[in-house]
Symmetry: C2
């Protein structure tokens, strides 16, 4: 049986690692040029650090790690307790049903359940079951149980059913009651179960660990703190093309300053990285949460904001009428649509767009603050200039609407490539509040490594020098020749050259074939004659050209 | 409440990341110079890939990942089944105990248990419990149950005890039987439990994933395959000083060739890395599994080999007599010790040591093969020369005895540092056999990043240039000044310089203080005068020296 790896994960071959490292190195170099400093955080965090930070869906997608050590024994104790307690209920239920009139059987109908649950309540009161009190759920207990029983008898699979009034002998009823109690008990316990067997979880993104880091190390950090972090994250998402369960994030964030110069620098940083990667004409889209709030204010419906931006985003595809139709279908009034009419002809230079927004949002304090911020950022970016990227103002950009409070960024690849965003970011006014450090504004951007890789591959922009393969291989003609070769190899390596020895003395054809398949450009041949003359035969494996050279010449030719 | 990270894990500050990256970069560069190519494997593997590969203790230390998605619901079904089945046993046990003579109570002693277990066997036979058959454990079932019951009644905590013959009423006995059955059932199930809730586990080392990679990708790989891998691994070890639950391994291995030239190159590789790191006079210890087999043969006790090497290793500390005393205590005969007498005076050059071994092991075929291998490796290393390291032959080196089959390596830090090994490795004749690809010899070495870090730190060998801090900070005197400054900043960054802007226009003292605490060497000041004259004031923050310079001069001074 061939071994495999978990779905959604990847092995990276030498060629792939070299290309990934090439991108990471460019990003890293630029992060540092822009004054960002690297930190690294552990792959797993305490569960409470991560849980509840990404919404309910996010919580579900966090990979949890089983407690190590004696967890299995502890866990068995826990199970044993469940078994014992379920049995206790079983015993009680037998007592209960023995007290019911069960001469020919019992009609288990809704009326009976009322009595049943009230009896159950008595049992609980008598027994004073403290774990229910502990968990502060005793008030809802009877109601929950009632619903559970009603559900149970209405499920045809259980062979009961309100309409059929099936008669059950006493034993059957006991079994049913047992099953109900056990299942009920487990339902109560299950929410505590996960935390019982797992207290650690794999990092879901780099932002929450960064916020945790800042709060934990606040006394060692000088603010504003510009940090970058390039590490893998893990998500239990359903794997699909281009979406993985393990992938790298490359984040740069500043925390502890509200200066808009940082937004200016982050746009420049995007431009600098993509220029260095040869990825020209990416579009850096910018928007501002306050612009979106202003629009919501103007259309008089903040709950319709997403519907509005999603529809507006389709302007190119379905035209003005199509967009308006969709907006009306979503419950946005015609009056509201009329008010934001300029957004349907939102073209021109950034300066012109900002002017349009200033008119449109003049009645909104928030909106006008957004206009002012955009103006500052765009003016300064424009006066400093971008090397190869295009800055664009996109009012439909609503990425991360829930947490961004100021600028919103997104980078689209060159228009010739059909691919989603290759980067994104924004400002959040309260980055570290979740961990108790208030009023720390943060702003940051992220690079999508996997997509950038695909874009560069598609545009054939990886330099040929991006490879981890050796420059030359010394063929193996036997131990004496190899001793001679190894001296040269050692010296070439000391000069920083990547060279290798074919380790085994096998047929020379096989060695050439190996060099060829590995994509090594040169082979070095050492035979009697070369040894006698203190020379090396250097063969260019692409052209087939071969020449005898001295060590110094060899070094020069391989450099 | 201050947030924290799981025990045994670490946050790395910018200074620490820079130093770690410095070491990793040196290792990486040398790996590539020696013809090794990088691969990367996923952080988690399928559990069956890892389990059973590191012994029982290793299995326990592997971090398991909870199945994602609906695992909790499935798990509840599983628990419910346990509850139901336990209850089934309960019912059976009641029947059983009702059939016993329990007039005044039962003496639960060993005689009774014989009957009890035999009755239980009957129940199992009658009920034909197929999950026991499925798990092929029914044969041992009765024996296990018997032992469990014996253990149970002998435990004073259960209020019973063989010597006390405590009488129990029927009900108490039922409870006891229930508890026994439930606990027994769980014991049976628990080994299946982990796989039920977890199918993935975090990488424990880089060797097993490498073997898996080679087998999985065997058709894409050219053999011999020289790969390196620098990635974190995770172990649920008890954390202690210098031992972490997440740490990096840096491995270079060759698979698919038995050539001893690789051992020669690996010694050179160690030398090259440690020389590059300025870590001179490390001792590269070498031994060979076959030498150890030879010694075992000569002392006539292969099971005493570890006791022998452990004792011999103490020669410096407790002297020849002490070592011999310990050996005799461990059951090694005086005759045996006499036979290996030369090992007690095992000094001199490597060549002399090899000669002594050749005499000592002349009767052992395996041993002489080891001598021959050592001779080849040491001769060639010696003729090629090492830059700064010391090669030593250490017959007490028994590292990884269970899997190494040829050379064994270990690197000790310079004698001035008190620290364990900073690297190790060896040859294993069948690296990929566990995954079904036979006859693939592998040889490799590993670098201990954390310990190397500590040694370099202790010896103060990190170059001052190892830092991620900016070279200069432009102070912020307001928007006009900043616009002027940002133009210079952009241009300096385009020349590859690390410079930053203080983002906020706050008191200048605070800005200087920030630069100082951050360890930034230069501050650049831009005021009215500088702007007027197209200049910059550059202040050396260590000396306090300040000068007015042009942009070109600035660029030169910061380069």
């Amino acid at each position: 049986m061939k071994p495999s790896i978990p779905k959604g994960t990847r092995d990276f071959s030498p060629a792939e690692v070299a290309k990934r490292q090439y991108i990471i190195q460019k990003i890293k170099t630029n992060f540092e040029k822009f004054g960002f400093q690297p930190i690294e955080t552990p792959s797993f965090e305490n569960s409470e650090t991560l849980m509840g930070k990404y919404g309910e869906e996010g919580d579900r997608l966090i990979f949890k790690i089983l407690n190590s050590g004696e967890y299995l024994e502890k866990f068995n104790d826990f199970l044993l307790k469940i078994v014992e307690e379920s049995l206790f209920y079983h015993k009680e239920s037998i007592v209960h049903f023995n007290n019911l009139n069960v001469e020919d059987g019992i009609k288990l109908v809704e009326d009976d359940i009322v009595k049943f649950t009230s009896d159950f309540q008595k049992i609980i009161n008598i027994k004073n079951l403290n774990y229910f009190e502990d968990e502060k759920i005793s008030i809802n207990l009877i109601e929950d149980l009632y619903n559970l029983l009603i559900d149970f008898i209405h499920n045809p699979e259980n062979g009961l059913g309100k309409d059929r009034f099936i008669l059950m002998d006493e034993l059957h009823l006991k079994d049913v009651s047992l099953k109900i109690f056990a299942s009920f008990y487990l339902k109560l316990k299950s929410k505590y179960l996960a935390s019982y067997i797992s207290e650690k979880a794999l990092r879901y993104d780099l932002t929450v660990p960064f916020a945790r880091y800042v709060v934990q190390h606040q006394n060692e950090i000088e603010f504003p703190f510009k940090r970058y972090q390039i590490q893998p994250v893990w998500r239990a998402d359903r794997p699909q093309k281009g979406r993985f369960r393990e992938f790298f994030q490359c984040d740069a964030d500043v925390v502890g300053s509200t200066s808009l110069w940082q937004e200016v620098e982050l746009v420049q940083l995007y431009d600098s990285v993509f220029t260095d990667l040869g990825l020209n004409k990416v579009t850096i889209k910018i928007n501002n949460r306050k612009i979106l709030s202003g629009i919501a204010e103007v259309i008089g419906a903040s709950d319709k904001l997403i519907d509005f931006t999603v529809a507006l985003d389709k302007l190119d595809k379905i035209g003005e009428d199509g967009v308006k139709k969709e907006m009306i279908e979503k419950g946005i009034s015609e009056t509201a649509i009329e008010k934001v009419q300029p957004l349907f002809h939102f073209t021109g230079s950034i300066a012109e767009k900002i002017e349009k927004l200033a008119t449109l949002l003049s009645s909104s304090v928030d909106g006008m603050k957004g206009v002012e911020e955009l103006q500052f950022i765009c003016d300064n970016v424009s006066s400093l200039g971008l090397s190869s990227s295009i800055l664009d103002l996109d009012v439909t950009l609503a990425r991360g609407l829930n947490y961004y409070t100021g600028a919103i960024f997104e980078v689209a690849p060159p228009a010739t490539v059909s691919m989603g965003s290759i980067g994104g970011g924004g400002r959040y006014d309260d980055l570290t509040g979740i961990f108790g450090l208030k009023n720390m504004s943060g702003v940051g951007i992220s690079f999508g490594l996997d997509r950038i890789y695909l874009v560069i591959e598609e545009l054939n922009l990886f330099p040929e020098t991006v490879t981890s393969t050796s420059k030359a291989i010394f063929l193996n003609f036997g131990n004496e020749e190899t001793k001679y070769a190894m001296k040269a190899i050692s010296n070439l390596r000391k000069s920083g050259l990547k060279v290798e020895l074919y380790p085994d003395n096998v047929k020379i054809g096989k060695q050439f074939q190996y060099a060829d398949k590995r994509g090594i450009p040169f082979a070095v041949i050492v035979g009697d004659e070369e040894m006698k003359n203190d020379q090396f035969s250097l063969k260019n494996l692409a052209s087939g050209e071969q020449q005898k050279v001295s060590f110094e010449e060899l070094k020069e030719l391989l450099a």
